[in-house]
Point group: C2
Chain length 329, copies 2
């Protein structure tokens, strides 16, 4: 993670109020996971506690900026929690479908407690997200729910596209980008839009910033899966290929290397084979193309920041943009 | 179904406006399933089209009664669709967990298209429910989302309790009733509460009516699983026992029959064995006890109807109450 601003740095950049608000987001997440019976409290709670970088809720708060009053602050906190609850719900459901045993280094809900518990825990986290949003004291709550439910629909659709496309080396760039848009960018967009809404501002421009940052984030994540090193990513190179997920690095590399073009992804059936394919992909220069596209998206994201944005918010959001790039530099 | 009012009869009882509104609910359900990519449109659409009795959305409309204006009507239509979308979402997810092949006589989404598609289709239906609700032009939308998301949390928790309790003959009546409350009654309660809200009325009393009707509905459903006949239910007697679901008829019968008390539900492993156990349960008179409890709940539901309710709404809701009883008489 060298060169990338850590969460703590982003929190600091957002201003002195952000640390306090992030603490309140954590409290709310814990409270939302609890209170629905001991079994769900345990498993939903564990999912929430396992954490992650909390990039999405942080984006909500950074997009919201300094808030006029306590009602607006509480609204931002609830919106931030809602976005993280949706993100957690989709991770739990994804793990059910993949029968994944580990997530963020801990056993998944499905591994600990079975598919029934994990599906229900995911459904609970989804419904709690909407409850958190609508309990907010300020802003247009109907608009907030519309933003989040549209992002949820996109996530479901993106997850499906990815499964429908599995092992298909012939998918187009457009199709890949649509998948990234649905699977990743829309929730980033929702995070920024909800932040703007909590601050009682137009959500369009900040939403657009979030969408482009989300796309760049996914593109660079897919580069990292090929480039590694494993010591940095915590997983083998080429796990996407082993899962049958054909990403832009592979799509672009196939246009440059006939042997890759002829390769059936189903034959990539062991980590050593995946490593070899990663080496070939890298050798084509395709990763540079994808990185360049991601940097372009980050530039567009920066350009999408509204002209009238206060200096602190601009700085914090620029730092997020820079962080997405730096993490993968 | 002899003696039970059919949906069409309930629609008629609700007044001349209800048929038109139910038509709009169907349109909205179709539109909500479509528009999120062809794969989801196919599978979510098929789930919606497979239908069922539409009892829950109808309850929304009957609880709403005649509406003051088009905004209130549209709000009721959207609330009705939202409740059915949530119900459909949980059915799709339940089928994933049970690896069920048929539902309402048609192949399930999981059977047709696999677990990934079915989980995503369920998630989509959930998120569309909240979008449908918040797009409504009238009433307190935050309160509406709170009602629906609380019902969703209850459904998730109820589903989990049922799985946690599987094969456990020692569960108490209280535990069983809690499960019915969470799994069934809360969504009935939400349906009536949302109807009242669309009509800009207090949702408490009608919600209470719905909750009790829902409980009675589940109790009698569990009686029917034991009593059959299969020609009426469309499934073998004792499917609950075969699934490991211990219901009140079995709990009550165990107190009356030592051989049943000593029976390990896991040994009920074939339809013939289940039929035999059903005969023994019936012979104890336990079904009468459960029926009596259900009738009591229906009476309480009727008593919960607000005194000032207009005659047509009262009549229609009484007919629903009577229908729940008659269906199982």
């Amino acid at each position: 993670m060298s060169g990338a601003p850590e969460t703590v740095e982003l929190v600091r950049a957002g201003g002195p109020h952000v640390a306090g608000l992030m603490g309140r987001v954590e409290e709310r997440l814990r409270a939302d996971a609890a209170g629905h019976g001991p079994a769900l409290a345990e498993h939903a709670g564990e999912t929430i506690a396992a954490g992650g970088k909390r990039l999405r809720p942080l984006l909500v708060l950074l997009a919201a900026g300094e808030l006029a009053d306590e009602d607006a602050a509480e609204t931002a906190v609830r919106s931030a929690a809602a976005v993280e609850l949706v993100h957690s719900a989709t991770l739990v459901h994804d793990d059910v479908l993949d029968s994944a045993s580990l997530r963020r280094g801990r056993p998944t809900v499905v591994a600990r407690a079975g598919r029934g518990m994990a599906t229900a825990a995911g459904d609970l986290l989804f419904s709690r997200a909407f409850a958190a949003l609508t309990g907010a004291p300020a802003g247009d709550r109907a608009e907030a729910v519309r933003i989040l439910s549209d992002a949820c629909s996109a996530l479901a659709r993106g997850e499906l596209l990815q499964r429908a496309d599995a092992w298909d080396a012939s998918i187009t760039r457009e199709r890949y980008l649509l998948r990234c848009e649905l699977k990743t960018a829309r929730l980033f967009e929702a995070a920024c839009a909800l932040g703007a809404l909590a601050a009682d501002e137009s959500e369009l421009e900040l939403g657009d910033f979030g969408r482009r940052i989300g796309l760049a984030f996914q593109l660079l994540d897919d580069v990292l899966d090929v480039s590694g090193p494993a010591s940095r990513t915590g997983k083998h190179r080429g796990t996407d290929l082993l899962d049958g997920t054909v990403t832009l690095p592979f799509i672009a590399a196939r246009e440059r290397d006939e042997r890759l073009a002829a390769l059936d992804p189903r034959t990539i059936d062991a980590p050593e084979v995946a490593e070899e394919v990663c080496d070939r992909v890298e050798a084509t220069g395709a990763l540079d193309e994808v990185r360049a596209l991601a940097l372009e998206l980050v530039d567009e994201a920066r350009a999408a920041l509204p002209a009238g944005l206060d200096a602190r918010r601009r700085e914090a959001l620029e730092l997020v943009a820079g962080g997405v790039v730096a993490r993968y530099a």
